[in-house]
Subunit: 260 residues, 2 copies
Amino acid sequence: MDFKSKLEKAITKNNSLLCVGLDPDPAKFKKGQSQFQFNKKIINETANLVCCFKPQIAYFAANGASGVEDLKKTIEYIKKNYPGLPVILDAKRADIGSTSEMYTKEIFDYFGADAVTVNPYMGLDSLEPFFNRKDRGIIILCHTSNPSSADFQELSINGQPLYIKVAQKVVQWNRKYKNLLLVVGATNPDQMKRVRRVASDLIFLVPGIGAQGGDLETTLKNGLTKNGRGLIISASRSIIYARNPRQEAKKLKDEINKHR
Amino acid sequence: MDFKSKLEKAITKNNSLLCVGLDPDPAKFKKGQSQFQFNKKIINETANLVCCFKPQIAYFAANGASGVEDLKKTIEYIKKNYPGLPVILDAKRADIGSTSEMYTKEIFDYFGADAVTVNPYMGLDSLEPFFNRKDRGIIILCHTSNPSSADFQELSINGQPLYIKVAQKVVQWNRKYKNLLLVVGATNPDQMKRVRRVASDLIFLVPGIGAQGGDLETTLKNGLTKNGRGLIISASRSIIYARNPRQEAKKLKDEINKHR
């Protein structure tokens, strides 16, 4: 099953747009516990509350080969125990075509992720090796949730900001590839409204809720598609380091559903 | 010693602006040979002809944990046997600040690279964790060498293309951080001329010579600083897969010096 079908089924089954981000920082949890063990607990506690999981590769890569193995085990664990839940690997990759080809091997073949985040700066041929993996979801950075996102993303090109140019290109590319999504942060609800206007059918991966302080209600109002879907609301630190991650995830899931 | 001082010393010692890119694709070499063994041979054959080495992390990551270990061994081998030669890890990273922090651990602490390539799309706070590593070189994508680089990099902002806006920002940031460089591809010599005009003192990492077909003479004419330096000319496939890598590297090094 391709990423988008799998995602839509999971949204229906768990009645949830929530994505739990797996960003395990060993400095923040019990000594002796592996990143995999930390993740396993979070996964088991939240699996029937989410539509997908999103490990952030940097947290594993920081620990070298052993971190890489913990990430692989994490994804294998989800696939084995919760086969209906897709895994987005947050990696923000892209390079010249031959190199991006290697990244697809890392992300889809070695780790087995269902979807990946990519960076548009280098243009279409840097992204095509990802796009060509038709059964995977490719999620292109559009307007990100960090404070400096405006540095380049909001520069104006004939009256339109760069992030809108990116959204327009992705809409155009998606007519051919059909497996594209966008990253649109929750910290700038006005920008989300503008992106939704040009990308009416694309699914947005939405970071910035939780630790980053994005406004949930306005985000949903501005980003949901007509059928009350079209958004994957991602939270990481605010859930995984909560005293009760399940309770925190349930609260956010319910809060999202209240506004759908 | 910081990256730029180490680089300048290596340029002087080996009288070379050549950087050999280590992109070992197991499909292209002898079965049973590890990526580390392949690299070791290339390193030993070319070490006194280059000013630095540039492993491309994707080629190793494609092989999972064992590739990661081969990359680590490769960098350790260079540091042990050729301690005067800096290592640029080509990784094109950047994410929200807390995640970029993790990438600095991967790239500088785990792998021990002297410099890294990063992607500017997310703006300053996504790059600062890298910039703060003052003894390392941070090389920001400006105008890349791939065919689709124009998709976004050449969009016009009040008459100036995005890549020039990036160059201007980096020049400004470098007044504070002093450890920044730019990636400017050799496949577009006119663009290199424009970047040199706004970034007169920055060192450019120049991919695109060799397999990608950039014009060396014009590149040097448009990119060299007044002292005949300011460029790191990188070639990977055209050297590492040559019948005689040392001879190929020597030829390119001499060709570069002819025009300095």
